[in-house]
């Protein structure tokens, strides 16, 4: 089965074609970062206005790149939530209408399920069951995965998502938008020993997270350091390093704890923050020391993309699930309410 996937939940337009025999045949992502940079964050109306200009040209592009005629598509998958409702509507309406015109089945995919299954696009891919850490600008969740659509939330952030904490702290450090990856770059030049940030909620049982306190700590550290430091650039790098260490440490501690509590051996990381190099190094080492193994999507598939939607949609379509002649995206959509796919 060959599925076209469309992702428009936030500020990236992603389109891809996944074939269950031939794998990922083409994928393209258009990022709106430049549009939103002037505002320091995503402006929902501008995001919607751009998705409607980019989606169809990207669909043409991936069909061309894969050398496919559009008659060879067997199904259409689109992100139906959670996310910005106006942005979701564009991809859902285009996707559902394409499927209608092609007379093929359509499926609305949960954005986080897309992220969660993205590591299954890699070789070797992890065997089920596993624990997943979904870590992005909008989410920080630990999920026990026993099958496709069989998700149990083990813990999640009670306030800021990890990626959000990265972006907010980057803003305090006066880094350009979007700040998360910039902060990680700056951290490479930082001294890990100069500042010591807290590791929130690691000193008590449980698998929930809290990252909002870190930006306050960062703000105070910046004030102190700039008051006493002769080299403000070095101080910023040192703070970035200490912040990153704190987030990475916290995530590693909770993931190790999640594996112990569930008895799983495999951990997968997904979402934009899972592209962070320090996080990958530290996580792999820590999980290996537990006798387990960590899996990651390739960096291009960590951030929002159509490939993960095409892949997740393909699993569900193959199991016979599909949508009626309706598109009805949801801004909020709890992941543990998804229908299970019985065949896997």
């Amino acid at each position: 089965m060959r599925v076209l996937g469309i992702e428009t939940s936030c500020d990236e337009t992603g389109v891809a074609i996944f074939d269950d025999q031939q794998g990922l045949m083409a994928h393209a992502v258009y990022s709106q970062v430049d549009i939103h940079a002037a505002y320091g964050g995503v402006v929902p109306e501008l995001a919607s206005r751009d998705h409607i200009r980019k989606t169809l040209p990207l669909i043409r592009q991936v069909l061309d790149e894969a050398g496919l005629d559009k008659g060879s598509i067997d199904g259409v998958a689109y992100t139906a939530g959670p996310g910005l409702i106006g942005a979701l509507l564009v991809g859902s309406a285009i996707g559902r209408s394409l499927a209608w015109g092609w007379k093929v089945p359509a499926i609305g995919v949960h954005h986080m399920e897309g992220h969660l299954l993205a590591p299954l696009l890699e070789e070797p891919s992890p065997q089920l069951p596993f624990v997943a850490l979904l870590v992005s600008g909008g989410h920080t969740q630990l999920v026990d995965v026993t099958g496709i659509g069989r998700y149990r939330i083990l813990g999640e952030s009670l306030d800021d998502a990890a990626g959000e904490a990265f972006d907010k702290t980057a803003k305090l450090l006066e880094l350009p938008y979007p700040g998360g990856p910039e902060l990680a770059k700056l951290a490479e030049h930082g001294d890990p020993g100069r500042f010591r940030f807290p590791r929130p909620m690691t000193d008590r049982p449980g698998l929930d997270f809290s990252f909002s306190g870190l930006k306050t700590f960062a703000l105070n550290s910046i004030k102190t350091a700039l008051a006493e430091s002769t080299d403000p650039d070095q101080a910023r790098a040192d703070i970035a390093r200490a912040f990153e260490e704190a987030v990475v440490d916290t995530l590693v501690i909770k993931c190790r704890r999640a594996l112990r509590e569930t008895g799983r051996k495999r951990l997968i990381l997904a979402g934009g923050v899972s592209a962070n190099r320090r996080l990958r190094e530290r996580m792999s080492t820590a999980i290996a020391a537990e006798g387990g193994e960590a899996f990651y999507p390739q960096p291009a598939l960590c951030t929002d993309n159509g490939a993960m939607i095409a892949f997740a949609g393909c699993q569900r379509l193959r199991a016979g699930q599909h949508e009626p002649l309706v598109f009805k995206p949801r801004a909020r959509w709890p992941m543990d309410h998804l229908e299970a796919v019985s065949s896997s």
């Binding site: 559902r96 209408s97 394409l98």
Partner: protein, 226 residues
């Protein structure tokens, strides 16, 4: 000529199928339920006519102004369906369609179409029905405060059309002086009138490729600092 036309720019959701000089329409007043209805309406019209989507000559849609989300739904559905079936698209102004609808119902030929744009503004278009019985734009459509709406080219015999005339009745009447004789604030955009206007556009060769099914919002300032 065979055209499908759709509109989701306001509280109504409608689809129409034009086959030569006959138009069939499905319409429901269904705020925020366009995504549940529009494709079924399109399918039902095709079923009743025995036509397949790919046998049509094109798809027309209400390109705005109107609810931002609403006009994007019509444009997105048009893009998807037209691309799938290799059809061209025909964007039609929702204000023009309101004026056309008023001519169809009441025979009025001088029409000032107004939608409530919120933020104390109206979407505004001045239309006259030409010899061919089709709404023709005078000047340009715009978004503006009702007390600065562009004046019509003559000073009498105009009809106010559309919900902008209930939201700003007194201000618009004062602004237009004695030019407005009747108002029909209950009028709204319907797909059948989009179909009528689109047929002429199509005959004139003004159809576009599917990716150019893009809304015209009129309000382009959506952030404070832009």
């Amino acid at each position: 000529m065979k055209l499908l036309a759709i509109d989701t720019s306001g509280d109504a959701c409608s689809a129409a199928l034009l086959v030569d000089d006959r138009v069939q329409q499905e319409l429901q007043i269904a705020p925020r339920r366009h995504g549940e209805l529009i494709l079924s309406m399109m399918q039902s019209l095709l079923d009743d006519s025995g036509l397949q989507l790919h046998e049509l000559d094109g798809i027309a849609f209400g390109r705005g102004p109107g609810s931002f989300t609403g006009v994007r739904i019509a444009a997105s559905v048009t893009q998807g369906a037209a691309f799938a079936a290799d059809l061209p698209v025909i964007p039609i102004s929702t204000l023009a369609a309101m004026a056309q609808g008023q001519f169809r119902r009441r025979g009025q030929r001088r029409l000032l179409a107004a939608l409530d744009a919120r933020m104390d503004e109206v979407y505004w278009g001045c239309y006259q029905i030409g010899d061919a019985g089709l709404a023709e734009l005078h000047g340009e459509e715009c978004v503006c405060p009702p007390d600065r709406a562009p004046l019509p080219p003559t000073s009498e015999g105009w009809a106010g059309v559309g919900p902008g005339w209930s939201a700003y009745q007194a201000i618009l009447q004062a602004r237009m002086g004695g030019a407005v004789e009747t108002t029909s604030p209950e009028a709204f955009c319907e797909a059948r009138d989009i179909a009528t206007l689109a047929a002429t556009e199509f005959s004139a060769g003004r159809q576009l490729p599917p990716e150019q099914a893009i809304p015209i919002y009129l309000r382009d300032q959506v952030t404070r600092t832009a």
